[in-house]
């Protein structure tokens, strides 16, 4: 029955390799291949159609001298930081509230999670409607007698980020809550008991003991949230279309508009390459952190 000698290396595990070909192809062809393709063409002057006429760094020079790109980057940074912090903070707060052995936990959780089921298009439409100055919040508050009340973030370049945040958090904080809740539930009951015996108030226990224990769970959330932030596009299109003016432009929209709307693929590719670089700048330290953590354990 025994086989004659060790099997060829290549055929060891051949079924697994075969079964993993979709993944290998996706990784190599789509993720690496397409990214490289994009990077290469970002050095060309491709317009409507890709063509290999290299122009060096010209696209990048132009990119960084374009005010709209700068605004986009700024917006993404502001939105990203705020949304990350707020989503985590609200998610954690909600998770803590839900963890208080409350009644109707399922109900509250469903309420918090349901917007996640909706597309950004839907989210954008709804919030546009709620924030519409003529019908929405402003109108209502004015109707209540505060006729001077002004809250029109969709038309105020300084506040438009708030509108994006309100909608973005509305849509996304539910998932964070659920993940953090699962994380909270995973914490050893005994730690809570120990803290009570030590006479540590609940809030302190959460902040000084539980929060640090949930680092890995937070890491998962940060990954998910930041992946969403970098891709932020649909919501902007649906809610503000980048307006008023260019006040709520984001990089992904810049890429899209230039690649297709303005028929300047080279510019779009340069912008997307910059996004790629940003992603790498975030992921690589994170991956190293993860690696380091594994090694230490």
């Amino acid at each position: 029955m025994a086989r004659s000698g060790p099997p060829l290396r290549l055929f060891q595990n051949w079924q697994a390799k075969l079964a993993a070909t979709p993944m290998i192809l996706t990784a190599l062809v789509v993720f690496i291949g397409c990214s490289l393709w994009t990077v290469v063409y970002s050095f060309t002057n491709s317009r409507l159609l890709p063509r290999l006429e290299f122009v060096g760094l010209a696209q990048y020079e132009r990119l960084w001298s374009t005010p709209r790109w700068q605004v986009s980057i700024e917006n993404l940074a502001v939105y990203g930081v705020l949304s990350l912090i707020l989503t985590l903070a609200i998610g954690f707060l909600l998770a803590v509230l839900l963890d208080q052995k409350i009644r109707f936990e399922d109900g509250f959780r469903t309420i918090i999670l349901f917007p996640y089921a909706l597309s950004f298009i839907v989210t954008g439409v709804v919030w546009q409607w709620i924030l519409n100055p003529d019908f929405g919040l402003q109108h209502i508050v004015r109707g209540m007698g505060f006729s001077g009340f002004t809250f029109d973030p969709l038309n105020d370049p300084n506040l438009v980020i708030l509108a994006l945040l309100a909608a973005g958090i509305w849509q996304g904080a539910g998932l964070t809550t659920v993940i953090l809740l699962a994380g909270l539930r995973g914490i050893d009951e005994d730690v809570w008991k120990a803290a009570r015996v030590d006479g540590i108030p609940t809030w302190k226990t959460y902040i000084f003991i539980v929060l640090p224990m949930m680092k890995p769970v937070f890491a998962t959330c940060v990954v998910l949230i930041s992946a969403g932030i970098i891709k932020l596009y649909d919501l902007v299109v649906a809610l503000t279309r980048g307006g008023p003016g260019i006040a709520s432009e984001v990089p992904a929209k810049y890429v899209y508009d230039y690649m297709f709307g303005n028929q300047n693929l080279g510019q779009g590719f340069a912008a997307s390459t910059m996004m790629l670089a940003a992603v790498l700048a975030i992921i690589i330290p994170f991956a190293l952190f993860q690696l380091g953590r594994k090694r230490r354990v």
Partner: protein
């Protein structure tokens, strides 16, 4: 919670560190603890022993105030603490899973509770130093729990209770996550600690060796009730009922059902139990005779004893220091613990014998000791 109501009459609680009165606890309709009464003396090492799920942790949590009792009262150091917060009860607690705060150093773990109680810095330093000294934790003070071994973590957990200068220590299976060797070592350390500190300690375990070696008294629990509360020796030699007899000892006591007429026992063997120290007479003739495997003598030594029989050896388990023999006495399985030097083989016939003074008799109906 009027202050006046809290202190119990001094005389009744004199020398009693923890007193539990009529404690009941139910989860919904499931009663986990039922009308439980227990007094733990000052400086006593009390072990709560019982099978998994019998309510040991629940009882400990009630004492700690982590679990509100459904009914009854709890007194600690003469104070009625039934409604008090855990941190106000003068107790320290050590958990099976250590429950250290993972992101704080050992020092942080030890001092966090004190900082929180606004103990002055100097005092904190003093107490941490003392605990670290007692438990030999000095070199570890700056480390985080992740960088400690299991035994070290457990010592830190004990230290956390220690710094709080409490009267009563509660342990919930503090050693069961450790490997056998470490467990044996820490057991001795704990015993030494108790000898040095002299605090009251209540210790939950389901390991009989731990219970036997550590306890001043053992409370054997079953289904939320205390079956027997006595010194290890008493529990071992004079189990109060069949449950305790079967629970304590490894391998457990041989239990032979039979009939008792006068002083004559008939069952898998026939025995004259004259010399047995009856505490009560059986109600019916049905009794159970119990004899520990280690009290059975074999071979030549058996010949001299008043009760004798012959058993068929089935399996022999040499365990180094001694040898366990699994035999059949008639149809009844019968275990004998022999010297490690003895050479018995499966299939041998073994003559066994024992002394009436070393056996136990139980009423078959009520299952209690006669």
């Amino acid at each position: 919670m009027a202050q006046a109501l809290r202190a119990a009459p001094a005389t009744e609680l004199d020398g009693i560190s923890v007193s539990i009165r009529d404690l009941s606890l139910s989860y919904g309709s499931v009663e986990v603890l039922g009308d439980l009464n227990l007094d733990v003396k000052d400086g006593e090492f009390l072990v709560l022993l019982g099978a998994s799920g019998c309510g040991k942790s629940t009882l400990l949590n009630c004492i700690a105030g982590l679990q509100p009792a459904t009914e009854g009262q709890i007194f600690i150091s003469g104070q009625n603490v039934t409604w008090a917060e855990p941190s106000e009860r003068g107790i320290g607690m050590v958990f099976q899973s250590y429950a250290l705060y993972p992101q704080m150093t050992v020092e942080g773990n030890l001092s966090f509770g004190l900082k929180n109680a606004r103990v002055p810095k100097d005092e904190i330093r003093r107490r941490v130093a003392r605990a670290a000294d007692t438990l030999q934790l000095e070199p570890l003070l700056k480390r985080k729990p992740a960088a400690l071994s299991g035994g070290q973590r457990q010592r830190v957990a004990i230290g956390r209770a220690l710094v709080r200068d409490v009267d009563v220590f509660l342990f919930d299976e503090p050693l069961s996550n450790l490997d056998a060797k470490l467990r044996a070592e820490l057991r001795v350390e704990l015993k030494r600690l108790h000898q040095n500190l002299g605090n009251t300690m209540i210790y939950v375990t389901h390991d009989q060796i731990e219970a036997m070696t550590l306890a001043d008294r053992i409370a054997i629990m079953r289904g939320g009730k205390i079956q027997q509360l006595a010194s290890p020796d008493d529990i071992y030699r004079r189990p109060a009922n069949l449950y305790v007899a079967g629970f304590i000892g490894s391998p457990p006591m041989n239990l032979l059902p039979g009939r008792l007429e006068g002083n004559r026992f008939t069952g898998a063997l026939t025995a004259d139990v004259t010399g047995y120290d009856f505490t009560s007479r059986p109600r019916g003739p049905e009794v159970v005779l119990g004899i520990r495997p280690e009290h059975v003598r074999t071979g030549a030594a058996a010949e001299a004893l008043p009760i004798r029989a012959e058993a068929l050896v089935e399996v022999v388990e040499p365990m180094g220091a001694d040898t366990l023999v699994w035999a059949q006495l008639g149809q009844t399985p019968f275990r004998v613990r022999m010297d490690g030097e003895s050479r018995v083989r499966a299939g041998d016939r073994l003559s066994v014998g024992f002394d009436p003074a070393s056996l136990s008799l139980f009423d078959a109906a009520s299952e209690t000791r006669l």
